[in-house]
């Protein structure tokens, strides 16, 4: 019985050491990054949603941007 316990303990120590070595080897493995895989698009599929289109809102928003005010200007910043 003592022999069996000794063998089991020896195997346990051996297995532990083997595990440590294996882990180190995994760490040293060459790393290959596959950048050809496109990122997963997790945005919700808006097309499937049931939404009422409000024509008047679309028109109103467009007309709001149609007329340019006479003091409209580009912004390149001030000199001081």
């Amino acid at each position: 019985m003592k022999k069996i316990i000794t063998i089991i303990l020896a195997l346990a120590i051996f297995s532990f050491l083997l595990g440590c070595v294996a882990e180190d080897q995994v760490d040293d493995l060459p790393i290959i990054i596959d950048d050809t895989i496109p990122p997963v698009d997790d945005t919700p599929d808006i097309v499937d949603e049931v939404v009422d289109t409000d024509d008047d809102i679309v028109i109103e928003e467009e007309l709001e941007e149609t007329i340019i005010d006479e003091d409209d200007d580009i912004d390149v910043g001030e000199m001081f």
């Binding site: 760490d27 790393i31 007309l63 006479e70 910043g77 000199m79």
Partner: protein
């Protein structure tokens, strides 16, 4: 008994290997992320900055009118001319003011160098050809250079002037006849653009009011009055007419977003490819003293552009991917209105089975494409 012992032995042998492998996977995943960051962060950040310098939401909104008509191109060029002229006149007045009161000579020296560069940029602005095939890209590049030079000037001049001096200079420049002349040109083009846009807007509900267009051209009504007139015409139209108009607007916005995406990518790539040469060529035209100052100011930008250029020559596709991703982010961050309109277009397309064609680029093409669809629906 023997079987039990063998089982225990096998268990001890296999378990650590499994544990090690699981742990290894975790380690490998972390390392992969780090390496992606470590190897990609610099060039990625460089390209990110370069794309941000080339194109952004504000510029996209600004050039929208340039893509509509030649009047829109002319309008933005005149506005850029006014900005460049204003910068030149203001810069000169600032330097004179500082020299008159014997201000810090080292700072004044730097301002003079930037002022010389502003004059060169102004020449480039006035040399812009509205008929050029790449006028939008050229406009964006020179506008960006002007904006950068003005920012550099401001960072030095701002703290050196008091509020009274600033206000005096502003008033003097505003009253200059060159500025007044270009102001009149800008206003004329805004009115013409408004008249054209109103004509297109009313065309969507099959209405034509030449008297209104002429009144807008002549400046006989304010922008808000014109806006109200168009809204009134829409309110008088039938529900069916408004539905058709809405469908047209949605389609036009889809086309515009698609065009903007293309433009953004083109501008970003072109900016990265030629911006360093543009800056260096301009610097070459300065005096030796001025060149040193400007080179010192631009060293970081030039170094960054050089790094990106090198990556571009080594791995064009990877750089292009990052450019595409960055420009897509800019497009996606556009106003909620555009996004909503795009969403509506998708829904409409799905619900009604209208085959949307987003490859078209002009208003005429948009109208000819949408009309048969809408007519069929009727």
């Amino acid at each position: 008994m023997k079987l039990k012992i063998i089982s225990v032995i096998l268990l001890f042998l296999i378990a650590p290997l499994v544990i090690a492998e699981i742990d290894g996977e975790t380690t490998r995943a972390v390392v992969t992320t780090n390496i992606e960051s470590d190897s990609g962060v610099n060039i990625d950040a460089d390209i990110n900055v370069a794309v941000g310098e080339a194109i952004n939401e504000e510029i996209l909104r600004e050039v929208r009118v340039m893509q509509e008509s030649s009047t829109g191109v002319d309008l933005r060029i005149r506005q850029l001319q006014r900005a460049a002229l204003n910068a030149e006149l203001t810069g000169l007045r600032v330097i004179r003011t500082l020299m008159d009161r014997d201000a810090d000579t080292a700072q004044t020296h730097r301002l003079r160098a930037i002022y010389s560069e502003i004059i060169l940029i102004k020449e480039e602005v006035f040399a812009l050809n509205p008929n050029s095939e790449n006028i939008v890209e050229e406009y964006i590049a020179v506008r960006r250079d002007l904006s950068n030079a003005i920012a550099e000037f401001r960072s030095i001049a701002g703290p050196l002037l008091n509020e009274n001096e600033k206000q005096t200079i502003r008033d003097e420049v505003r009253e200059r006849p060159e500025i007044a002349e270009i102001n009149a040109q800008v206003v004329a083009r805004i009115r013409e653009t408004n008249a054209q846009r109103v004509e297109i807007a009313l065309g969507r509900i099959d209405k034509s009011t030449p008297v209104l267009y002429q009144a807008i051209r002549n400046g006989e009504m304010t922008a808000s009055e014109a806006r109200q007139r168009v809204l009134d015409e829409y309110n008088r139209s039938s529900e069916e007419e408004r539905r058709i108009a809405s469908a047209r607007i949605v389609q036009e916005n889809r086309t515009r977003i698609s065009t903007e995406q293309e433009l953004s990518r083109r501008v970003a790539e072109e900016y990265i490819s030629i911006q360093r040469t543009r800056i260096e060529n301009r610097i070459e035209r300065l005096s030796e003293d001025e060149r040193e100052v400007i080179l010192e100011n631009r060293r970081t930008v030039l170094d960054r552009l050089q790094r990106v250029e090198e990556q571009l020559s080594q791995n064009r596709e990877s750089v292009r991917e990052i450019v595409n991703r960055d420009t897509q982010t800019i497009i996606d961050s556009r106003t909620t209105t555009s996004t909503q309109i795009r969403t509506d277009a998708d829904i409409r397309t799905t619900n009604r089975g209208v085959e949307a064609d987003v490859s078209t680029t002009t208003r005429a093409e948009v109208d000819s494409n949408i009309l048969p669809d809408v007519t069929r629906e009727r």
